[in-house]
């Protein structure tokens, strides 16, 4: 890759990052391209050179953020590949880490923006859900299925189990963080993830 094209790609990513920041700060309609350009340190037409218009800019910024969130979530779920001796402890650890990812600024902004712009960008919902909620639910279902096979969880539909464990984590957090508006104290995060694992194991432990 040449130095020039490398610079071009860097600039494109800088613009996408700036766009996500500004969209997150203001919302789609309230964000103005000028502010995005300033945040990225380029002139307004440069934004248009790289990403043809505001809608495109939004779509790509969301898509890039969704990829990052997906990666962070999958990395956490992978930890269940080595469940160790103490299954409850491992689940609590994973649950807690999922909660942390789910509560971080980027995840919350992504959900908020996607959700708030369903009317204008209906197709983004599928894209974002596929890369975040769906993907992590599937990965988790895979792990739970293996745990069932290994006799450490009751047998049954691992998709439902996965869905419910995630619901027990994210549901209370949405409420307690006021839809991602307020920081959730560490202790509360721990309480929620532990309670979720507790209820989950009541229902699904072998």
């Amino acid at each position: 890759m040449t130095v020039a094209s490398r610079g071009r790609i860097d600039k494109r990513q800088a613009i996408l990052a700036a766009a996500f920041t500004v969209f997150a700060r203001r919302g789609y309609a309230e964000a103005c391209v000028k502010e995005i350009a300033e945040e990225a340190g380029v002139a307004k037409p440069t934004v248009y050179n790289h990403l043809s218009d505001k809608e495109n800019l939004f779509r790509h910024a969301i898509e890039a953020a969704a990829d990052e969130v997906m990666a962070a979530n999958l990395e956490v779920v992978e930890r269940l590949r080595e469940p160790g001796e103490d299954l409850r402890a491992t689940l609590e650890d994973v649950a807690h880490r999922l909660v942390e990812v789910c509560c971080d600024e980027r995840s919350r902004s992504l959900r908020r923006l996607t959700y708030g712009q369903v009317a204008r960008f209906p197709e983004l919902i599928d894209l974002v859900q596929a890369r975040t909620a769906d993907k992590v639910a599937e990965a988790l279902a895979d792990r739970l299925a293996r745990l069932s096979l290994a006799g450490r969880l009751r047998s049954g539909d691992p998709s439902v189990a996965s869905e419910q464990l995630l619901a027990l984590l994210t549901g209370p957090l949405e409420t307690r963080s006021r839809l991602g508006t307020r920081e959730v104290p560490a202790a509360e995060m721990r309480a929620v993830s532990d309670a979720a694992v507790d209820t989950f194991l009541s229902a699904y432990a072998a």
Copy 2:
């Protein structure tokens, strides 16, 4: 109350209803006051006479919708006052009805608008959450507490139980309805509510 002032109140409510409809259709920034005025059948300055500006209009429209959603939810939870013989059946009925309310157009629009406008109207989150999620969680906790006392549920923190039951209902629905974008088939709604009750009773049955 005089006939005249009665008419004034009617017009105000017509405007608020129209505002909610249009905001739900377009989103806050994309909705224009002209369209709201047309939907309400009045002239634009009339809107300004009744509700000083667009922000105010939004706040009051959201508030009114939140009141309606709250009432619908509480009515459902009240059914747990008479749990009857078959607790599982009663919970399944209540759970299913909550799912229905939660999936209806108005609830979804309310969540979407509030969520999408956190940046501009941060205070609305508290107002809406207090009247919807919090209120129903409390009412449900009240009912669960009574059921514990009556020996029909294990004793423990009824708030956590309430929170988890609601999470088991709304979490999966958010995913399956693609954040309220897609209709959820009746069968799926039933499956979700039954699975929620099942897991809930695994953890909380006496």
Copy 3:
């Protein structure tokens, strides 16, 4: 007609007049709506309230000007209804008056704008030609036909005669005024119209 609606119509006409002035001064693309608004003494959005966009503004301004030019031309041709004793003198008078109309600022701007915007407004050509060139050619043909019947002109196709008389007037003027750019001295105008009538009568006198 109410005073209010009268005022509205006045304002619309003021905007159209200002638009024609500015378009004539700058050309279509170079004219900016802001300048038109200033020329009309209103704010920019007022222009958009009355005439939905720039293209519409242009079309209506051109149409109005075409109407005025048409009326002026027809009034001149009408003079041939009373040819009087001295046909040559009457024709010279009419010819000279047509030349005057054809050379005035408004006619020239109208032709220039229409001509210059064929690519963008192809339908305007027909509209303008119908109301100016065609209409005056027909009216003139009518008069010439009567003169033939009255035995004062040779018989023949009056349309061709009309077309040629007008060509003998406008052709030399286009050249001498540098496509309407330069004032044509009164003496030259007279020379052109007299020469045209002379040639015309050589070919068409009874």
Copy 4:
């Protein structure tokens, strides 16, 4: 001339030709330099290297086109040097050929562009008129003068005769082609040129 500078000149001419094409297609203001560069197969800054800015580009493109149109017209008029036996036939032939040149795409675009941009490029009018209308009028006047001397046309001011013959040709064509917008059928072109010669000879035959 070196091969290199020869290539440079070729590129310059390619740019001028592309510019005329694009200006003719879109009009001056609507044409963008990017499109001209693409039409010429070069990059945008190359256009600026060869012709300093858009105005210059326009001027030179127009000038080049005017030269070509002039040459085509003069070639036709030269045919009157050998009038042959049948003067009417020769005049009809020349008239018809002039009509053809006058109706071709390039001539029409040239007139349209020049005419439409009088406001911005007032000096172009003189340049173009001098090379087209004036030049052909003069050349034609020269031929007519010789024909007068030879006793084949009445004596008199050959400039006026030339001007009127050209007016009788171009005037009706402007109308019938809707200012160059519509194709004029071959039969109509013939009718116009024959009628022009007929009237011309009525007035000017010896």
